[in-house]
């Protein structure tokens, strides 16, 4: 703590000084202590509790009859869990990839110093201001075959037009991707735009003189400079993807059936509505493990390579 390094003059009233110095060094700790304790308890304490519960046979209420990794074994045998897990892989992968591509594309287009840039930028950013519940409800209407896009295009005379992913079990997860991309790509664009604006103009001029075309300049010179931006974007997006719960609830409700379940909705359903707290906790622990498995190596490689970028 930097405050500890404050030099206390050795002469003149050393006693009074050391008392006030120790107060100075303890006061911040005292003031911070309650919030540190609360966050330790509610974050890490509950994590540990969830882990403990995942080792028990808890059903409706927590019980402390330990069954080892029995709940995990049940989970592995549960078909619905595998649907949720593979949905997360599809949803997360597509969501992150499409957001990055659209975000980078929009940012590059906006970076061409067009008129009304401020207005457009705000327009693209607006969806991020909505909650996922609102996004979910709006897209639920838009994608509803009887009310939304399909009905509209049919009313224009294209009678055979079909767009009913929302009610198709194998396609429902893609509607989640559509809605989530709509919401988050503007935000990714803002991140990329800030990165692009930070690049020295003369680098681009040098590349022009070197004979590179504009697409090449972006691909070879500019985008490689934006690795830190991609890094932050992937961190934020993967965290949104894994947490996605409200969007599923509002848009598909996990359905049809449980075809668009994600681990978060699976966990909620089992822990809180189907009286399977043990199984729910086990799925929550696997989610945590998944997040760590993705993020830790990524963080490690990014932070390490930062030194030699």
């Amino acid at each position: 703590m930097p405050i500890n390094t404050t030099q206390v003059p050795a002469h003149a009233g050393a006693r009074g000084h050391s008392a006030s110095a120790s107060l100075q060094s303890w006061l911040p700790r005292l003031v911070l202590a309650p919030s540190v304790a609360i966050s330790l308890f509610f974050v890490y304490g509950f994590m540990i509790w969830t882990f403990v519960l995942s080792l028990t046979n808890s059903r409706m209420l927590p019980s402390y009859h330990f069954v080892g990794f029995g709940q995990y074994a049940r989970l592995m045998a549960n078909e619905r869990w595998w649907v949720a897990a593979s949905n997360l892989a599809i949803f997360g992968g597509l969501f992150i990839a499409i957001c990055l591509v659209i975000g980078a594309g929009l940012a590059i287009l906006l970076d061409q110093r067009i008129r009304q840039e401020g207005t457009l930028r705000t327009l693209y950013l607006y969806p991020m201001a909505l909650s996922f519940i609102v996004t979910g409800v709006v897209w639920k209407w838009l994608l509803n075959p009887g009310l939304g896009i399909q009905a509209m295009v049919r009313s224009w005379g294209f009678d055979n037009f079909t767009f009913d992913w929302l009610v198709q079990p194998e396609m429902a997860v893609y509607t989640l991707v559509i809605a989530a991309v709509w919401q988050a790509s503007g935000f990714v664009m803002a991140l990329f735009l800030a990165g692009l604006r930070g690049i020295d103009d003369e680098i681009i001029k040098a590349a022009q003189l070197d004979g590179a075309s504009l697409p090449r300049i972006y691909r070879r010179v500019i985008l490689p400079c934006l690795r830190p931006v991609v890094f932050s974007a992937v961190m934020i997006l993967s965290h949104i993807a894994i947490k996605s719960f409200d969007l599923v609830v509002a848009l598909t409700g996990g359905g049809p059936g449980y075809s668009s379940d994600l681990p978060a909705t699976f966990m909620y359903a089992h822990a809180f509505t189907r009286a399977q707290i043990g199984l729910g906790s086990a799925s929550a622990m696997l989610m945590l493990g998944g997040v760590l498995a993705i993020l830790v190596p990524y963080l490690y490689s990014e932070l390490r390579s930062k030194r030699d970028v």
Partner: protein, 370 residues
Amino acid sequence: MSALEIHQLHKSFGSTHVLKDVNISIASGEFLILVGPSGCGKSTLMNAIAGLEPITSGEIRIGGEDVTWRTPAERDIAMVFQSYALYPSMTVRGNIAFGLEMRKIPKAEREAAVQRVADLLQISHLLDRKPSQLSGGQRQRVAMGRALAREPQIYLFDEPLSNLDAKLRVEMRTEIKKLHQRLGTTIVYVTHDQIEAMTLADRIAVMRDGQVQQLGTPDEIYNNPVNVFVAGFMGSPAMNFVDAVLEGGRGNYALRISTPGQEDLVLPWPAERDTDALASCVGQKMLLGLRPEHFSEAVGHSGAGTAMAAVIGVVEPTGADVLINLPLGEGEVTARVGPDCHARPGERLELQVDMRRAVLFDPQREVRLA
């Protein structure tokens, strides 16, 4: 054939008129140096030549062809930027080879070119590093290397040596001069360094507020400046300007300098340097320009100069010679004398002034009269 011709070039950024009626023409293989105070438009002119900034009006011709509306890639120019502008995500090798790669040069040739410039610039050991791992001087050499890897019609160098230490700078200056002699490529070069300008240039363009004040050989710029600005800008220590009143008539003009507390000094003007402009200025105040080396110590009574004497103010030995401050006219002047001068402050020193090389300006319009 002229390698580069700039004709009535104007450039505005919005309402700020940055370049005003620039006209420059240099022959193939010439080394043009642009000098001028900060913000006078040197970098803007370089960008215009390279095609990186669209110009407002005028014409640019390279090798006889009108390139005014061509893209930078089509102009066959290589440039070293003031801020280096290295590609941060590429290694030094990648930086140097990028321009060749974009021009579809085969890989083996690219590698050879990288090796050639790396040897020339002594950066072979840095080839696999990223720009962020280099010092300022190393980055500057990489930026030079990136330009030298190609063989364009014109090289543009925007202060390429400004961040090097004194020794490396002198070395690089010599390298550039050798390189120019060997390649014979036309070079346009911006610098703030007087010595660089005088030693490297075939021609110097002195700029001020977006206008070219004078374009000429180093000798012309130094000895025949067209106005007070050019005279004062080139030369270190700068030229001394002394108020003087013109007297006499054609064939025997003289300049009277009144120094407070001293007898007036009358310096006869060499008759062979009379100009018509002087006739209308008799009795008026003029600005006499004398370079420090136009003064010399009076040895005996020989020598081709007008004798004068003054009390020494400050003595600054520089090693190669001694700079002496003396009161003359309203202010002080600096004289450059030989290193064996042992004059002390407060002593009276006998000097000679070489009026054959002095210059005369109109103090109001600041233009050259004689």
